[in-house]
Amino acid sequence: MKIRILLLPVVCGVLAACQSVQGERATYVGDGITVDPQIEWTHAIGPRESIPGLGLDRLLFLTARDTTSVWTIDGLGLDELLFFTGVTAGDPLFRSPGVDKKDVIAYNATMLPDDVMEMIAGTLGKAGSQQLRTSMLRPVRFGTVTGFRFDLAYTTQDGLEMKGMALFAQRQKKLDVILFFAASEHYFGQYSSTVEKIFSSVQVPDLPAAKPAA
């Protein structure tokens, strides 16, 4: 916990320069997906943004992908809502500092829901999450398509116990993931119902109509 406290001023300084995501309106998170944020979130990392040189936390990754967003309320490391949208075959979900791309599990469009859950867990494991457990993989709605939910729990390298929930869907050979995790003490319980509503608010564009056979 001490390291978290030491980092907070730095994180808050970074967040102060970031924009806020207002509630009660659809917010675009990439790959045609919008969600209703429900409450005001600090938009820590947004599409086409990167935070070169920061790298203080295991998930403050440096990425060139333009469809990654990270929101938080109380600060990175305490609660994080992450959007990884439009992940294509051959790409990892994300890459942590110091972890080579070839060492991270890459997405494959033939993956079954179990495979995707295992990919997410393996990626978090590479990022340093310990005692990681996934559970309750189940189908849910992801906008108008079938998506999947699962729960997760892990311990950070600093010994902070975290709980999380993940929502994902595979559309047109691409993967969209919304991942929420927070310190199990206080923060997860504080925001889990809000995140449930965000998950339910996902909107995706209709698939283009199939061309009639010639």
């Binding site: 001490k2 079954l112 393996g122 993989l137 010994g159």
Partner: protein, 388 residues
């Protein structure tokens, strides 16, 4: 000690105490039992730092608290350490890395990934004997002094306590790995300790050979430890250990292997450790490691099942067939979880074998009617054109 993929940890402190105490000129002698350095010495400062880390380790949520397992590991280390037993405190940490370490103050940490990989008590005893030797020979202190006095490294003041703090120390740039001579000395010490207690002299070399084989299973992966870049040294160490075992075998020797008590001790935890192993995301190494375990336990349905899981997750050419064979072997053996049917269903579904997939999913649900993933399996069943 660097037995595995993860970075081996060597404690080092810095000039927090520099100038306040005398540098001990000769520290290579073996520690006397019950030794504790004076606080106004450099060694005392190093111990104080590690004492603080140990307090954090004791409170870590990753600590394995199962008393039976802790008692078992503690007994092995105490038998090996003899009169030094009271100076050593062992902590089992829930982490899939294959690692163990002895801190200069007598704290010994054993990662569950190491316990998963050892095949018997003699192998674990060799690793623990190796670590005890690092402790008794004060290798950490020697490295600390070398780092501080030749590199002049400073310790960050914001070091956390506990395992996170240890990793900070590793990443602080002050990390000094054990030298090759120190590793050789620790190998020799570990070998002598296990032979002295009647363990099979070959088990140390067996463990190291298996570790090297597992590392080699992912040749294209980023080398994460100096261990990997020093394979010639590893081969030399293996040669030395094997030669010494040959010599011992010409003498009367008890040759305790201790496979059964070891399996009894880790058995209640092994399935959970194998699940965590997959979160390392290196399925090729997982395949190699589980294959090694199966050589010693060919009738283990649990191991066959997890081998199937490793193949399914790796998903390389030929792995569908490999996974199916492993799941089938699990079902034919004893102790396989019902999830072996689920695994067969998943592989068959991806291979387009819908009828077979449907049958296996239905078997899984009939064996596990309260499965937490029941709705997902029902989704797979629907995909395969069936119903629960």
């Amino acid at each position: 000690m660097r037995f595995g993929r993860s970075v081996g940890i060597v404690f080092a402190a810095a000039l927090l105490w520099g100038g306040t105490g005398s540098v001990q000129a000769a520290v290579s002698e073996v520690l006397p039992p019950g030794y504790r350095p004076a606080l106004d010495t450099e060694e005392g400062g190093l111990w104080a730092l590690v004492d603080r880390q140990e307090a954090g380790v004791k409170a870590s949520p990753t600590l394995v608290t199962d008393e039976a397992l802790n008692t078992y590991v503690r007994k092995i280390i105490c038998d090996l350490a003899g009169e030094h037993c009271a100076s050593l405190r062992v902590y089992v940490v829930d982490d899939p890395s294959s690692n163990a370490m002895a801190a200069p103050n007598g704290m010994v940490i054993v990662w569950t990934g190491l316990l998963l990989r050892c095949q018997n008590e003699a192998e674990l005893a060799f690793v623990l004997g190796h670590e005890i030797t690092h402790y008794l020979k004060r290798h950490s202190l020697l490295n600390f002094q070398k780092t501080v006095h030749t590199a002049g490294t400073f310790l960050p003041l914001s070091i956390a306590t506990g395992l996170g703090g240890l990793l900070q120390l590793v990443g602080s740039g002050m990390l000094a790995s054990y030298s090759r001579d120190q590793e050789r000395e620790a190998d020799a010490g570990g070998f002598d300790l296990i032979v002295g207690k009647g363990y099979d002299a070959r088990q140390g070399a067996f463990f190291m050979a298996n570790t090297a084989e597992e590392e080699d299973a992912s040749p294209n992966r980023t080398k994460s430890s100096a261990y990997l870049s020093s394979h010639p040294e590893m081969k030399e160490r293996l040669t030395v250990l094997t030669k010494r075992a040959d010599d011992v075998e010409t003498q009367a020797h008890a040759s305790i292997v201790g496979a059964e008590p070891y399996r009894a001790a880790i058995g209640p935890h092994r399935a959970a450790w194998l699940e965590e192993e997959f979160n390392r995301g290196d399925y090729a190494q997982s395949v190699a490691m589980i294959t090694q375990l199966l050589k010693a336990e060919p009738q283990s349905g649990e191991l066959h099942y997890y081998l199937g899981e490793a193949y399914r997750r790796r998903n390389a050419n030929g792995d569908s067939a490999n996974a199916m064979a492993a799941y089938r072997a699990a079902i034919a053996a004893t102790g396989a979880p019902s999830a072996a049917h689920r695994g067969l269903g998943l592989v068959a579904l991806k291979a387009g074998q819908k009828n077979f997939a449907r049958d296996e999913f239905q078997k899984y649900l009939s064996l596990t009617p309260m499965a937490s993933d029941r709705t997902t399996v029902e989704y797979y069943l629907a995909t395969a054109g069936g119903s629960p």
